[in-house]
Amino acid sequence: MLCQGDAMHNEAEARMEGATSGQARSKPEWAGARKKVLLVDDSNTVLLMERTLLSRSYDVVCAKDGHEGVEKALAEKPDLILMDVVMPRMDGIEAVRRLRSDPETRHIPVIMVTTRGELGSVENCYESGCNDYVTKPFSAVELLAKVKSCLGD
């Protein structure tokens, strides 16, 4: 499920599944076991882009805000989390703090994906406990490189 309660996005996901079924969904022969990445963002556009970029190499789970992100992190035990900062209900900074305070999720690496590129915001991200950050609009090459680096691929 891409994003619960979002009919349009579920339809988009269904199309994506169709577009990436068969060969595209199978694991490349040189790759190891598929790792799981949790995407947390309130923008369907960003989720769709991140999902399209990552779903070939990783299993992808999505959440629409920080609160849902923390819940899915506990339930899904992802290997990596890409976290937006400005979101409704719970922002990314608070979500990372909660993840870091829970023994079950404190080890999961988090990359902040944010439109806030100024120094103060970046410092806030790191203080909350994130491992890295990417500014939006993101370079796909940079994002993939940081994802691989965090996952040790």
Binding site: M8, M16, V46, T52, L53, R56, T115, T135, A140, L144
Partner: protein, 278 residues
């Protein structure tokens, strides 16, 4: 490019990147084997040359006048060894040339891989934009989609969307984000950058055509007419870019071309609800 082509293109680009990845792995493995083989040969040659007697000055070994069968055999063996050494050196040179070729090919493949990744990223952005615009169920969702595209893909948190009034003479603000909506007024078609984009039907970008910025609105970065075929139906004005986004890129211009056609189409099929309708 049609909407249905984009996932296919993205898929092709992904497959191509995967192939390149495989080729790189194979090339690297061959490279490692060659290097190991060269090292092995070098070691054997060193051991061989250390165990054999050094040749005399001039490189030619002659049996002494009164040499017996043992000396003659040794001289013959030494000559054979030198010939073998020469052959090995020639082979080593060939392998070194081959290694250089492989390294050059490796660099080319790496460059190709990065180019394919960048192309793939652009296709993913265009695909997401089309999917969001045409996946919207009502007009407000189209507005949200356009806003998300401008914020997250272009990199600006200030935008205004204008509809052409029914008489075709003015552009009325229909949706704004990040700017004071009260500041925006209806714009006469042909007036200012937004009005000119509407009357000329082409994208205006600050800094292009010799203009440093739009004098009537210095914060305006780009203005995109929304068109159904050749008919302009509105305009999208994008103001200040995010601080960490220094300038528009070629990809942004591709995205503007897409928005020009597809945002207009998405809005056309989701007209405003009339008061009291339903």
């Amino acid at each position: 490019m049609t909407k249905n082509d984009v996932p296919g293109l993205a898929e092709k680009a992904l497959s191509s990147a995967e192939r390149h990845g495989r080729s790189l792995k194979v090339a690297n493995q061959k490279l490692a084997e060659l290097v190991a083989s060269l090292r092995d040969q070098k070691q054997r040659l060193v051991e061989y040359s250390q165990s054999a007697a050094p040749p005399e000055a001039g490189g030619k070994v002659e049996a002494p006048m009164d040499s017996g069968p043992t000396e003659r055999t040794l001289a013959a063996e030494l000559a054979l060894a030198r010939e073998a050494l020469q052959q090995h050196q020639q082979k080593q040179d060939r392998l070194r040339d081959h290694l250089a070729e492989i390294e050059s090919e490796n660099r080319r493949l790496c460059d190709d891989y990065v180019a394919v990744q960048e192309q793939n990223a652009a296709l993913v952005g265009l695909y997401a934009a089309i999917e969001r615009l045409h996946g919207a169920l009502d007009r407000n969702e189209v507005f949200t989609a356009i806003q998300e595209i401008v914020v997250n893909v272009v990199g600006s948190e200030e935008l205004a969307l204008f509809d052409l009034t029914p008489d075709g003479r003015r552009l009325a603000p229909a949706h704004t984000f990040g700017i004071d909506a009260d500041r925006l007024k209806e714009i006469a078609v042909g007036s200012g950058a937004v009005g000119r984009a509407a009357v000329e039907g082409r994208v205006y970008v600050a800094g292009e055509d010799g203009a440093k910025a739009f004098p009537e609105d210095p914060h305006l970065t780009a203005c995109i007419p929304l068109k159904l075929g050749d008919r302009v139906t509105g305009a999208l004005a994008i103001y200040r870019l995010l601080d960490h986004k220094p300038a528009l890129t070629d990809f942004d211009r591709e995205l503007f071309a897409l928005l020009e056609r597809h945002a207009a189409l998405a809005l056309h099929f989701r007209p405003p609800e009339r008061p009291g309708a339903r």
